[in-house]
């Protein structure tokens, strides 16, 4: 339908309400990240208030260690959500890849080969997701609930009810010591590098622009020559491989793996991505926001753990954070809508000159 809210042409260029609203949205994206920075600082202060040495390098190491795998999985998920899709199978792939690696290793395979096989499994799983979503055209939430169950189920078939241990010490040390000369956990360092790559790709490359276009208006993206299906398939393959990699990391870190590794983690990952300001509808969000979200959740969890608060309370905190993260941006509009409706029901415009709303 023709928009009558267009900027007046050409004599009096004026700002329309729609324009202000939309521009405010763009400003809002940056506003969200700024808010996250404030929350992060608040979380750090909160943590320090209980433990004076909260900001110590050792705490940073442990926080990074605990969040590592979730953080890594959040990056490809961010890109997938940007295109308007979702991947709920991330944690199951993490479990499956660890399982595959463990089973092969315990059958005598060299550890590097077992790891490579796990990555291949990740790629295969990602391809399954990608093909079903992009080529066959099935809704991604349903597909990835299916593959979530499928991957977990295969892990069960392969390993239940055993647990595999005995991984090479040279590798499992990543779960115990930081990188030589720093207090950076290996998984933290990997995450940071990946975050930079993801950030550059999303915000500064044509591919990233394509992702945003796909999320905002998939048809227009296709008409502009963007290969939507191919990109989506590759995103899912990357997600599969990255989650498999996270599974390898988790297994080595814990120096063991069982069939239910990572159960339920997918919701953590989704929560962090959404809390980071990425819109569930696609097309909006930043990598820096997700990084901040990881930091905030990590800091809060670390602080709460050190205060001997139960993990369940930490769940409540994450849930509330998630709620706040989506309610607040919408609240301005919601209040305006309620006010509008109340005004319409209350008043009746007088015939001649009623005050301009």
């Amino acid at each position: 339908m023709t928009s009558d809210m267009a900027t007046k042409t050409p004599v009096t260029p004026r700002r329309s309400v729609v324009e202000t609203g939309k521009r405010a949205l763009w400003r809002g994206v940056r506003r969200w990240e700024s808010a996250l920075v404030v929350v992060l600082i608040g979380a750090l202060i909160f943590g320090s208030s209980e433990r004076p040495n909260f900001l110590s390098p050792m705490n940073f190491f442990y926080t990074g260690l605990n969040m590592g795998e979730i953080a890594i999985m959040a990056l490809p998920l961010t890109l997938i959500i940007m295109t308007g899709e979702i991947d709920l199978s991330v944690a199951s792939m993490l479990g499956l890849s660890g399982t595959v690696m463990g089973v092969l290793f315990s059958n005598g395979w060299p550890i590097w080969l077992a790891m490579a096989a796990a990555l291949v499994v990740g790629a295969l799983g990602g391809t399954l997701n990608g093909v079903l979503v992009a080529k066959v055209g099935l809704p991604s939430i349903a597909v990835t609930i299916g593959t979530l169950t499928l991957f977990r189920g295969i892990a069960v078939i392969l390993l239940a009810p055993r647990t595999i241990t005995g991984f090479p010490l040279s590798l499992t040390k990543i779960g115990v010591v930081p990188i030589q000369g720093t207090q950076l956990a290996y998984s933290t360092a990997i995450f940071l590098v990946m975050a930079v790559v993801a950030g550059v790709v999303l915000h500064a490359t044509p591919l990233g622009r394509a992702l945003v276009a796909i999320g905002l208006q998939p048809e227009a993206a296709q008409f502009a020559g963007i290969r939507v299906n191919r990109i989506k398939i590759w995103l899912y393959v990357v997600s599969g491989v990255v989650c498999a990699f996270a599974g390898i990391l988790l297994t080595l870190k814990n120096s063991s793996v069982s069939y239910d590794a990572g159960t339920g983690l997918e919701l953590n990952v989704v929560a962090i991505v959404l809390f980071g300001g990425v819109s569930i509808f696609g097309g909006r969000g930043t990598v820096i926001g997700v990084v901040l979200a990881v930091a905030i959740v990590g800091a809060l969890q670390q602080a709460l753990t050190q205060m001997n608060v139960q993990p369940e309370v930490q769940n409540i905190v994450i849930g509330v954070l998630l709620l706040i993260s989506v309610v607040i941006p919408n609240s301005g509009e919601a209040i305006r809508r309620i006010r509008d409706r109340a005004r319409r029901h209350a008043s009746t415009p007088s015939p001649r000159n009623s005050p301009n709303a």
């Binding site: 267009a6 900027t7 329309s16 208006q217 227009a220 301009n356 709303a357």
Partner: protein, 505 residues
């Protein structure tokens, strides 16, 4: 036929509405008489849509009043407006695809039987009654999914009737209809008028206003400029009122000498959609694909460009065959497609102007794999200037632009790639008269520079004025080809509707 005696059924008196600092509608007055079809004309941005929304009860007027049967009425919401007897049928029919036709008509008011449960038999019966009143036939139990646009409109009109609507407002109802369906719509409007309803008919097609309406109101810049019986105005009068200035020529055309073949389509076929399509487009010529809506023209364009996969046949650009179903390959070969649906296919509405202009050229704007924002901005500014785009800030989203300016952004996006073949689907649909002329001037300029243009248009005057050759499609086949000299309204329409055997020129 003029209603001189009775008071208007619905009187819009001095209505104004502003959104923030923008006055969308200012002091508009308009009488709607029972039994009359009233055309509402005006360029984009003139305030027609806002006025419609006020009538629909979606917005409340800031000042002025609405009078039904002489009594002032105030609508607190769409339900109140409907209850008062005003029904609005929007350009895009809003049906529930998963529900049945009858349920679509009676949603929220399904007839109840014992124990307040829905009486489906009664509902279907009443739906059939309404269809009979309209003189059409549709199965009330079928799902709304898959209905043609024309049939969807019929369902919307049936819904309006079932509300005992006395005023029907139709917003651009003919935009997506075939000529036959337009005819059926006009018959339905006549039936409604005979039953005493008033119809407010918003259209960009001046000829349709003359064909079906008895009174006309022209709006410009939020004001009602003139209201008059249709026989008292001419097309020139109308255009002058709409634009506020005289346009000496609407559709300028300069002659050019066509060069080598750019596009060569042979036996192109897409199962169930079109068959055995063969044609060529040469440098410097405009070839128009004419025909009724639904004949398959846009589908041919999409298959040529690669958005849809073709079943068989070849597409050659500069002699080289294009692979099947790969738009990127077509783009690299120098093909550009300005699509039919601006808002869904042509633009990413929530991206900014410069991002939209750059969307098809990102590869070129790269350095070390990264997008250079400065180059992007430069590209957009260059084309905005060349196309005389009217905007306030490059960083604004394209949703803030008028239809004509949005089309310029789409054009800018594709012209930035320097294409050798421009396929343009409905170049001036939903665009004001002034910008229309600019677009036509632009196309002429392009062919003068040696670009080949394949134009799809449902507006015969546009086709006849612009095209060097006219290919007529009917039901997925080319039924006629005319040169510029041979083409006239009559022959093209005959070929498009298959009314007489066609002799190829």
């Amino acid at each position: 036929m003029t209603q001189s005696s009775a008071a208007p059924l619905l009187m819009v008196r001095d209505v104004s509405k502003s959104f923030g600092p923008v006055a969308a509608v200012q002091g508009v007055s308009l009488p709607l008489y029972a039994g009359e079809a009233h055309a509402l004309l005006g360029e984009n941005g003139a305030g027609k849509s806002t006025l419609v929304k006020i009538l629909a009860g979606v917005h409340g007027a800031d000042s002025g009043e609405l009078l039904m049967d002489g009594e002032p009425v105030v609508f607190k919401g769409p339900a109140a407006s409907r209850a008062a007897g005003i029904s609005v049928i929007y350009q895009e029919p809003m049906l529930f695809a998963d529900l049945s036709v009858a349920e679509n008509i009676f949603m929220g008011r399904q007839p109840l039987g014992v124990g307040r449960r829905i009486d489906r038999a009664a509902m279907n019966r009443e739906a059939t009654e309404v269809f009979t009143r309209l003189g059409v036939q549709l199965d009330p139990e079928r799902a709304a999914r898959g209905l043609s646009v024309a049939d969807q409109q019929i369902v919307e009109i049936a819904k309006a009737l079932s509300f005992n609507a006395r005023v029907l407002v139709m917003d651009e109802p003919t935009a997506a209809l075939t000529t036959v369906e337009v005819g059926r719509l006009f018959e339905v409007i006549q039936t409604l008028r005979d039953q005493g309803a008033a119809v407010l008919f918003i259209t960009h097609r001046l000829e349709e206003a003359f064909a079906s309406c008895q009174r006309v109101t022209i709006m410009r810049d939020g004001r009602s400029i003139r209201t008059a019986p249709i026989e008292d105005v001419t097309i020139d009068d109308i255009i002058r009122s709409m634009v506020g200035r005289d346009l000496d020529t609407l559709f300028p055309k300069t002659a050019t000498e066509p060069g080598e073949v750019v596009l060569d389509v042979e036996h192109l076929c897409r199962g169930g959609v079109f068959d055995d399509i063969s044609f060529q487009v040469r440098r410097g010529e405009i070839v128009a694909l004419a025909g009724l809506v639904g004949a398959g023209r846009s589908e041919v364009a999409r298959a040529v460009f690669g958005i849809d996969r073709r079943t068989s046949g070849t597409v050659r650009v500069h002699g080289a065959e294009l692979p099947n179903g790969k738009p990127l390959a077509a783009m690299n070969a120098g093909v550009a497609l300005v699509p039919e649906d601006r808002r869904q296919q042509g633009l990413v509405m929530e991206m900014s102007i410069d991002q939209n202009v750059a969307l098809a050229s990102l590869g070129r704007l790269r350095r070390f794999g990264l997008i250079r924002r400065s180059s992007e901005r430069e590209l957009a500014t260059t084309w905005a200037g060349r196309l005389q785009l009217k905007f306030s800030r490059m960083g604004n989203t394209v949703s803030t632009l008028s239809g004509g300016n949005q089309q310029k952004v789409v054009l800018g996006k594709w012209l930035a790639r320097n294409p050798s073949l421009l396929i343009i689907d409905e170049p001036t649909r939903g665009i004001d008269v002034g910008t229309k002329a600019e677009v036509h001037r632009l196309l002429n300029g392009l062919v003068a520079d040696g670009v080949a243009v394949l134009m799809i248009s449902s507006e015969l005057p546009e086709v006849l004025r612009m095209a060097d050759r006219v290919l007529v499609l009917r039901e997925g086949r080319i039924t006629a080809e005319f040169t510029r000299a041979e083409a006239d309204e009559d022959s093209v329409m005959r070929a498009a509707t298959g009314q007489s055997p066609v002799v190829a020129a």
